[in-house]
């Protein structure tokens, strides 16, 4: 193959794929049994990091950036005047294998612009995965994009070779989708998701009876939403995310701050800052819902449609519910401990372990590693010295913000000064 040509294609098709946030390589256990290439232990490895601080774990590329659609937010949309390229199937296979052998990557994340139609494109993606598994005896990680509108039969095949499948819904609301991607229908996104979900459930059932049932997408499915491209609130986004977690058993929903790459009067103008802080607050909320036992409506609701930018969502919730505090560290149950600002799940488990042996005081808590600058106002422990409820929620918030340093301080000040 001609290296110069491959190199040009690689730079075009990697550049176009980089707005896909997911780079997870975990959860797809696949052992190397017959002296093949690759052994996936189920633990991901980040082999490098880009200058924006993101993990590089997979070879993340598009098969082609030719596309029949014209979605406003997408850099490869039909009407955008950019260089187009397409890989041959064998080229992707060769790149993956050669990168993997040199320990550059954990596997492949293959997506594509849609050429001709959904099924034609999906079939190509499957061919790459199939070749890697069957001809190259490759046990590394494969993440394939499910093309909206692809047939059930193809989605079934895709899951047999891939570890993870994903469809990006991109726009959190149906009205937003109509505005920015008029040729795409919401049902087209839902169709492959439903099929994958059902196949995974069926696989788990059959596995109980027949042990040799061929595996289906062991690392599950995920999706992604663009944040800040249309005017939706954080409440809209989290309700939507929650719907996909519940309805389709998603492993992950990713939130991707919109990077302005195109001029379009429906979208934020070029040069608008990427909403990185908002993205961070949404991930925090996502974690609170998945691991800390919160429901969406406790954090976001009709009266609080957007997350605070200057404090984290748990602290914000606690300040609205001061009547539930202070919590006694030595008595409270796990769920309530997890709701104290400044205490993460790891600290919760450490507290539960440690208090079996002795009553915990401030120095114990400090050693465990909780963030006392926030937590001290919400707890009592084995000490006479504790915060007496004397400040209103607003003054308490001011006090905490004043005494803490956030890596986002610059951003927060910048964003706040817009309103003052």
């Amino acid at each position: 193959m001609s290296f110069d040509r491959i190199r040009e294609k690689l730079s075009i098709l990697a550049d176009a794929a980089k707005y896909d946030v997911s780079c997870a390589s975990s959860g797809g256990k696949r052992s190397n049994t017959n002296k093949g290439l690759g052994n996936n232990t189920g633990m991901g490895i980040c082999h490098s990091y880009t200058e924006d601080g993101r993990c590089v774990s997979l070879l993340k590329i598009l098969l082609t950036n030719h596309c029949i659609y014209d979605c406003a937010y997408c850099i490869t949309r039909k009407s955008n005047d950019i260089k187009r390229a397409a890989f041959k199937i064998q080229e992707v296979v060769d790149l993956t294998i050669n990168f993997y052998r040199r320990n550059y990557i954990e596997g492949l994340f293959l997506s594509s612009g849609i050429f001709k139609n959904a099924d034609y494109t999906m079939e190509r993606l499957i061919q790459v995965a199939k070749k890697l598994r069957l001809e190259e005896n490759f046990n590394g990680y494969i993440h394939l994009k499910s093309i909206p509108g692809a047939s059930d039969e193809l989605m079934r095949q895709a899951g047999l070779y891939a570890d993870r499948l994903s469809v990006n819904i991109e726009i959190p609301t149906i009205s937003g989708l109509k505005l920015l991607a008029p040729d795409k229908k919401h049902e087209d996104f839902v169709k492959p998701m439903t099929k994958v979900k059902n196949e995974i459930i069926q696989y788990k059932e059959e596995k109980k009876i027949i042990k040799s049932t061929p595996r289906y997408a062991p690392a599950g499915q995920s999706t992604q939403m663009i944040i800040g491209a249309t005017g939706e609130s954080d409440w809209d986004i989290m309700r939507s995310a929650n719907y996909y977690y519940k309805k389709f058993n998603m492993r992950r929903v990713y939130y991707s701050g919109y990077v302005p790459v195109l001029t379009d009067n429906r979208l934020p103008s070029l040069g608008t800052a990427v909403p990185m802080l908002r993205e961070n607050r949404l991930y925090q909320t996502d974690w609170l819902i998945r691991f800390y036992g919160f429901s969406v409506n406790e954090i976001l609701n009709d009266t609080h449609k957007n997350l605070d930018v200057d404090i984290d969502p748990k602290l914000s919730w606690a300040l609205r519910n001061l009547n539930l505090f202070p919590v006694d560290i030595n008595k409270a149950d796990k769920t309530m401990l997890a709701r104290i600002p400044g205490i993460g799940m790891q600290s919760v488990y450490k507290i539960l372990q440690a208090r079996k042996f002795r009553k915990l005081n401030w120095s114990h808590l400090k050693a465990i590693g909780i963030a006392l600058n926030r937590a001290q106002f919400f707890i009592v422990c084995d000490s006479k010295d504790f915060y007496k409820k004397e400040l209103s929620a607003i003054s308490l918030k001011e006090k905490i913000v004043k005494n803490s340093s956030s890596k986002y301080k610059k951003l927060i000040n910048g964003q706040l000064s817009l309103f003052s």
């Binding site: 730079s11 990697a14 200058e51 590089v56 052998r101 040199r102 550059y104």
Partner: protein
């Protein structure tokens, strides 16, 4: 005044365990255990060089194994591989606690030796993981995927399984340039080797011993690395936090000049 006994050993794990055996055998209560090539400038000491004896070492290790859990054994070995000065004495003191307590007795985790060993084992584990992530192979003319490393701790014994399982169908060599030995997989098993001229396999020797297409793949990788970066999200602090500068020397993508 009693002179302090110093037991010197060859630096191997079996050698260290042999020292433990001798300490028990000769009832030396608080010896200092040290590698023989580490200098000693203490006065009033008795130096005794211990010859590594596999059988004795095995007896100590079997005894230790019967009284501990597998993760404690792994932690113990990892802490040994840290090669931190004086770690042998902490390990010895910990072993004494294990041997003097009845089997299966609950051990106080406030014990300072355990705390120290757990911490050191964790450091070694992180370094192991980084080497697994940051090793970059280059293909030589005789079809061996080769890499040189110089890790903070002696982690090669810990990474053998990972690389053997992963690259079962290719010959590979990972050479520790600091400790002057490497692990080599010849398609059936992994062996420890030493090279007379390790400088020959350094990455900058690319024209001499590496395949011609090797440069092309390195350039492709570097192209990929640069293309996936989103410039408007640049975050140098986070970048360096994940990818400390001392590892950059391994990384193809950080060393290719276009």
């Amino acid at each position: 005044m009693n002179a302090q006994t110093i037991l010197l050993y060859d630096g191997s794990f079996d050698g260290f365990l042999s020292c433990v055996f001798v300490a028990y055998d000769q009832k030396i209560t608080s010896p200092i255990i040290r590698k023989e090539y580490q200098t000693n400038n203490q006065l009033f000491t008795i130096n005794e060089t211990i010859i590594t004896n596999r059988q004795k070492a095995n007896r100590v290790w079997e005894g230790f194994k019967s009284r501990t859990k597998p993760n404690e054994q792994r932690g113990f070995f990892k802490a040994f591989l840290s090669e931190i000065k004086g770690v042998e004495n902490t390990l010895f003191s910990y072993m004494r606690t294990i041997f003097s307590n009845p089997i299966n007795q609950h051990i106080d985790f406030g014990n300072k030796d355990i705390l120290k060993i757990t911490q050191v084992a964790k450091m070694v584990d992180r370094e192991k993981h980084r080497v697994e992530a940051f090793v970059r192979f280059q293909l030589t003319k005789d079809d061996i995927y080769t890499s040189t490393v110089s890790p903070d701790f002696n982690v090669l014994p810990l990474i053998v399984k990972h690389f053997k399982d992963r690259y079962a169908d290719q010959k590979w060599l990972i050479y520790d340039t600091n400790r002057k030995y490497g692990i080599f997989y010849d398609l059936t098993s992994v062996e420890i080797i030493t090279l007379e001229e390790p400088a020959k396999i350094l990455p900058n020797q690319i024209q001499n011993i590496y395949k011609k297409q090797e440069v092309d793949f390195q350039k492709l990788w570097s192209t990929y690395y640069n293309s996936v970066n989103i410039k408007s999200r640049k975050n140098t602090k986070l970048h360096v936090q994940h990818l400390p500068k001392r590892y950059w020397k391994y990384l193809t993508e950080k060393n290719i000049r276009e």
